[in-house]
């Protein structure tokens, strides 16, 4: 039996290894096949011959693909339509922005990127960063951290750096006293995440949600916006009067995206920047000095969080110079702000915790650092800082401001560059300008550079429309539409109109903080805690406009 099976396999092998023989015996094959059919019995010989024919056909089929339809590897995926052009036609909208893995503000999920090119559009044409520096790059991927790309990205590949886990760790840490502040713009946008119509003011619900999340104290950045106005307005008056030796025009410094942009592209105008810090970092400094002293808490144990409409605030919080409260407390490792969360992150956190946002009991901010004037609340809109500052500056120069300053139409609205001239008794004409969207800076700042301007004060906001359309705000239409911006802006202005106090210097808590702690605006302690200086990033990139202006000279 064993010998039989071995001979069988030998036969098979010989047939398999010599398929060419089959063709030669094709005639015999048909004969024997018929014979086989007659006897209605498949002989071993016929079976092996058929198997041989089958294998030969299979090999021949394989050969066909070898010589005809052989498929090269790759090419099984897709590319967006704009790239599928033949020849040398240039692709207009293409690629994506570079993002440093170390970027504190924005990050990108490569797997979601579809190379639609929208981030490049907004970065180069709206914010004038990408394509606005010479190549090769030096040792930095220039980014002003504004986060507009997170709003333009259609697939949500680009997002803010999510720090919500760090926040929850801090809240769950019993040793830490977690204090939070909320920016003017978050209250008119957060509701969108919960189905409310655009521009709904959800201030009271936001405070309630923050309380539910476990924050120990909730303060309002509107308060420190008033504080900023006191400092910045006083500084402006001093510059105009010549009491402070700093160049005019004074440029606002509350927008960290703009400040970084200025350091990159207009380092020669950094002295023009107001030395007053932004409302967020002012509040941070006040929390760890004034509030810590008042409520007798060790500043080291305070964890200061800011809910901002902005991704650049994440960058501002880690700027090395933002530790004035630390220096004051003799421990430079204490930061003014420990963590910044965007509006979107707050919304995510509220949803994660399962809070029924719309049915929360309305709540109020904690006192001490929360009262605000109408001037503070309009900080979130483009032109708002200017309007607020002008009200206070008028007061400082000539007494009570006239009625039109409470509705300064020329600086309101979504235009990229706005100008106005005010006649102030005893001083004369004050010229102001408002810029939003960094691509508009060139029109204004090239004139400033050439000393052809007669502006006294210019407000800059990196995001078109101001903070209400900041890079950390809820995503709306892609790209964000002006109707959404307008609705949010109107919500802020109506909050200003409804406010009983509309002037920063009338804010009771502001009066109290100067009386109890800071002394006077631009005083010694105010300078120590509320003012800073900015640097020069021009060695990290070669600005294109810089080269152009040199050529003109």
């Amino acid at each position: 039996m064993i010998s039989e099976s071995s001979s069988n396999s030998n036969d098979k092998n010989s047939n398999l290894s010599e398929p060419t023989k089959i063709d030669g015996g094709a005639n015999d094959d048909s004969d024997t096949f018929n014979g086989g059919a007659d006897s209605s019995e498949l002989s071993r010989r016929i079976f092996l011959k058929l198997a041989g024919v089958g294998i030969a056909a299979g090999v021949a089929g394989g050969c066909d693909s070898t010589f005809g339809g052989l498929k090269p590897s790759g090419g099984e995926g897709w590319l967006p339509a704009q790239y599928n052009v033949s020849g040398d036609f240039p692709v207009q909208v293409r690629g994506r922005i570079p993002i440093d893995p170390q970027n504190p503000s924005i990050t990108r999920d490569n797997q979601k990127c579809i190379l639609c090119g929208q981030c490049v559009e907004v970065c180069s044409k709206v914010e004038a960063v990408m394509h606005n520096y010479e190549l090769p790059i030096i040792d930095d991927i220039p980014c002003i951290c504004c986060g507009q790309c997170t709003l333009w990205c259609p697939t949500g590949a680009i997002t803010e750096v999510d720090d919500s886990d760090l926040l929850m760790q801090a809240i769950e840490n019993p040793d830490l006293h977690v204090v939070v502040q909320t920016a003017p713009s978050t209250r008119v946008a957060l509701g969108e995440e919960f189905g409310l119509s655009v521009g709904t003011n959800v201030e009271a619900y936001q405070v309630s949600a923050l309380k539910q999340l476990g924050f120990d104290k909730i303060f309002d950045t509107n308060f420190s916006a008033d504080l900023t106005i006191m400092e910045e307005g006083t500084e402006l008056v001093k510059r105009v009067k010549g009491e402070k030796k700093a160049p005019l025009p004074q440029l606002t410094s509350c927008c960290p995206g703009w400040v970084k942009y200025c350091e990159y592209f207009y380092p020669d105008l950094v002295p023009n920047l107001s030395s007053a810090k932004s409302p967020m970092t002012m509040m941070g400094a006040m929390i760890k000095t004034y509030y810590a002293k008042k409520s007798n808490i060790d500043p080291k144990k305070i964890f200061s969080v800011a809910i901002m409409p902005c991704t650049a605030k994440k960058f501002e919080a880690i700027r090395p110079e933002m530790n004035h409260s630390g220096i004051k407390n003799n421990d430079p490792s204490i930061r003014d702000i420990d963590l910044v969360l965007t509006t979107r992150e707050l919304a995510k956190l509220i949803k994660r915790k399962g809070l029924d946002f719309l049915n929360l009991p309305p709540a109020k901010y904690d006192s001490l650092l929360s009262e605000y004037s109408g001037a503070g609340v309009i900080f979130g809109a483009t032109g708002g800082v200017m309007e607020a500052a002008v009200r206070t500056a008028y007061h400082l120069l000539a007494g009570d401001p006239p009625k039109f300053l409470f509705n300064l139409e020329p600086v309101r609205g979504l235009a990229g560059v706005k100008e106005a001239k005010l006649n102030i008794p005893n001083v004369g004409g004050i010229k102001i300008a408002v810029v939003s969207g960094m691509h508009n800076t060139h029109k204004v700042l090239e004139r400033v550079r050439e000393n052809k301007s007669d502006w006294h004060f210019i407000e800059f906001m990196a995001c078109p429309g101001g903070c209400i359309s900041g890079g950390g705000q809820p995503r709306s239409a892609v790209p964000p539409s002006d109707s959404v911006r307008t609705a949010r802006i109107n919500a802020l202005y109506s909050a200003d109109e409804k406010a009983t106090i509309r002037l920063s210097y009338e804010n009771h808590e502001i009066k109290a903080i100067y009386k109890d702690y800071l002394g006077e605006p631009n005083g010694e302690l105010a300078h120590e805690l509320l003012h800073t200086h900015y640097g020069d990033r021009s060695k990290n990139l070669t600005a294109k406009n810089k080269k152009g202006s040199n050529k003109e000279k």
């Binding site: 790759g74 090419g75 293409r94 690629g95 570079p98 190379l115 090769p136």
Partner: protein
């Protein structure tokens, strides 16, 4: 007409869009944990046909600069992988692309050893692995489209075109701008490559193999490897000759046996009988042994 790509490394800002385009068009997976496609730890892998590698280096003494280098198959003019591949799985096409046909591949990985730039990668973690490498988007090239990575670049780092024209263009660029290193990588390396690079920092500092010979690598083996068919043919003739000689010798032996049969039938018959008896004996032994085994 041989196509090529000119890569101007000074323009790269490291967005990594090319790596995304490559993965999108070729349907490759993201394997960032094993091998990131961009960044300082970027490395070519079975799913990463192109990468953007970040280098931090010092230029002119103290100024630190960042440079991003795009790696992918250079598509040699005389590719050694193609000469090493006996299955015709790798083929150099007229348009310059070195194309891989997985259906032909036998998985010997000779191409991986042959490539001076270590481009072909093997799918080590697959059950039925094949080689993978950049094929210069052969499907797009056939439709006169630039490779995916080239067409998506927002800074126009890469330019797709006729290789000879690109070479002339590169020469003009490095001649007119003192910033550039006076060398075009890929002009002569390994006998010239379809992808050519210009840079403002020395190539050896940004991960390029500058020790590659200038001669086309297949030259070294083609001298004797081209004799393979002749050698084969001669070998067939020699073996056939041996076969016939042996066959004839056996025939002569049998004939002599048959001739002598008539002379001494008895003698021969005795011999045959004794032989048969022997074989029968041995069969008996074998069968008996088998039966014994079964009984056990």
């Amino acid at each position: 007409m041989s196509k090529g790509v000119l890569v101007n490394l000074t323009k790269c800002i490291g967005c990594g869009g090319c790596t995304v385009a490559c993965k999108m068009y070729n349907n490759n997976k993201w394997i960032d944990k094993r091998a990131p496609a961009s960044g300082e730890n970027a490395q070519l892998a079975d799913e990463n046909w192109t990468i953007i590698k970040k280098f931090k280096l010092y230029k002119n003494g103290n100024t630190q600069v960042w440079r991003f280098v795009k790696n992918q198959c250079l598509h040699c003019q005389s590719p050694s992988c193609v000469s090493a591949c006996f299955a015709k799985a790798l083929q150099k096409k007229d348009n310059g692309a070195v194309v891989y046909f997985p259906d032909n591949c036998v998985g010997c990985r000779y191409c991986m050893l042959a490539c001076p730039f270590k481009i072909p990668k093997f799918e080590w973690n697959k059950a039925m692995p094949v080689i993978t490498k950049c094929v210069m988007c052969y499907g797009r090239m056939k439709e006169n489209k630039a490779p995916a990575c080239v067409s998506v670049c927002p800074e126009s780092v890469m330019k797709f075109g006729d290789r000879d024209e690109l070479l002339e263009e590169a020469k003009v660029i490095i001649k007119n701008n003192s910033m550039y290193v006076k060398h075009i990588y890929g002009e002569e390396e390994a006998g010239g490559t379809s992808w050519i690079y210009i840079s403002d920092v020395p190539f050896e500092k940004i991960g390029f193999n500058t020790n590659v010979v200038k001669k086309p690598l297949p030259i070294y083996t083609s001298l004797y490897m081209k004799c393979t068919p002749i050698f084969g043919a001669i070998w067939v003739i020699v073996l056939t000759a041996f076969y016939f000689i042996t066959k004839r010798r056996n025939v002569i032996k049998n004939e002599s046996c048959e001739l002598s049969y008539k002379k001494s039938v008895d003698e021969c018959a005795d011999n045959k009988l004794s032989q048969e008896a022997n074989t029968v004996k041995s069969d008996d032994v074998f069968v008996n042994a088998g039966q014994k085994k079964r009984r056990k």
